[in-house]
Symmetry: C2
Subunit: 193 residues, 2 copies
């Protein structure tokens, strides 16, 4: 069994995304983590402290992701877009949960997100040499994250088949189109602008 501390953070993370900041009560978190409220408050003195722990973990995970970032534009874009649409990996989970905290008004959550975004932006910029492409990449990935964050678990498409989160083949088509924006050295496309 993983440490109680980690289990508490995991439970909080999950509840932030699924229930929002409002729904993530100390009681519910404690139950899901398999400890009592008192036990929880031994590891984190207050709810504020709990949030700080979550944000710190995002920062660690983000640094690890950036440290292992791909070294070509093609691979980077692929990694970037795929990672954005994979809510299951730990970094994605931390990212989404921190988004919720940021929107609830926590300044340090916002700062952590901004730092991460900047790191990714700079990494893509360095690889592509094109600030507009880098910004587009950032916005598309934010768009995917946003959709993932808003869509409730297992949400069905609308009656007419529309779905918010792009999956499978559509995702690959999007990546291909983004790659087509790259300068000549790129694998598959012409250029625009």
């Amino acid at each position: 069994m993983t440490s109680a501390r980690e289990r508490i953070l995991d439970a909080y993370e999950r509840q932030l995304v699924e229930l929002g900041e409002r729904g993530s009560t100390l009681d519910a978190i404690a139950v899901e983590a398999g400890v009592s409220k008192g036990g929880l408050l031994y590891h984190f003195k207050s709810k504020d402290d709990l949030a700080s722990g979550l944000i710190a973990r995002l920062t660690e995970r983000g640094a690890a992701d950036l440290a292992g970032f791909p070294d070509t534009a093609e691979k980077a874009i692929h990694h970037f877009i795929v990672a954005a649409s994979d809510v299951d990996d730990p970094l994605g989970a931390s990212y989404l949960a921190t988004q919720v905290l940021a929107r609830a008004g926590r300044a340090d959550a916002f700062a952590a997100l901004q730092d991460l975004e900047e790191g990714w932006y700079r990494a893509i910029l360095e690889l592509t040499g094109d600030p507009v492409v880098a910004r587009l990449m950032q916005l598309v990935s934010d768009g995917i994250y946003y959709n993932a964050a808003v869509v409730p678990e297992g949400s069905p498409p609308t009656a007419s088949g529309f779905t918010l989160v792009p999956l499978g083949e559509e995702r690959e088509a999007i990546i291909a189109r983004l790659l087509s924006l790259l300068p000549p050295a790129g694998a598959s496309g012409q250029r625009g602008q």
Copy 2:
């Protein structure tokens, strides 16, 4: 002075975006709207009812936007991206506030957003004839909205000059690049894929 009902909705909208769902208390809303808590609860029987009113207003404003949607791909994309980055217009404000409600777990808020997204997606698809471009457009605009929603008021760029929301010239460059993805009939670009 506008009607108390509208003032209450405006105040609630603003507080949702700036303080989050948690921070938007009936007390604070009443104060900002210039009524008492009792007065507020005369217009909306419960907080739930207040949220419903907000969502209904988004749906009205969204329908109006779609009704006046541009009739060419170029104009549509421009309108779409510019509108997404203008948080001051009433539709944008309603959209952002409803996002907060959706993330707090309100199913009807999510449904209203999804309907709107679908309407926009279909409008762009019809004008461009390209589902990948339409999806990219949707994601970029979501990305912009997301950034606008997370960024606190008057937030400064990082020390190194990075800023989350693309403004001014950068926004125009992004629009131009997106337009370059359009098929031959488009104004300025070649195509990819």
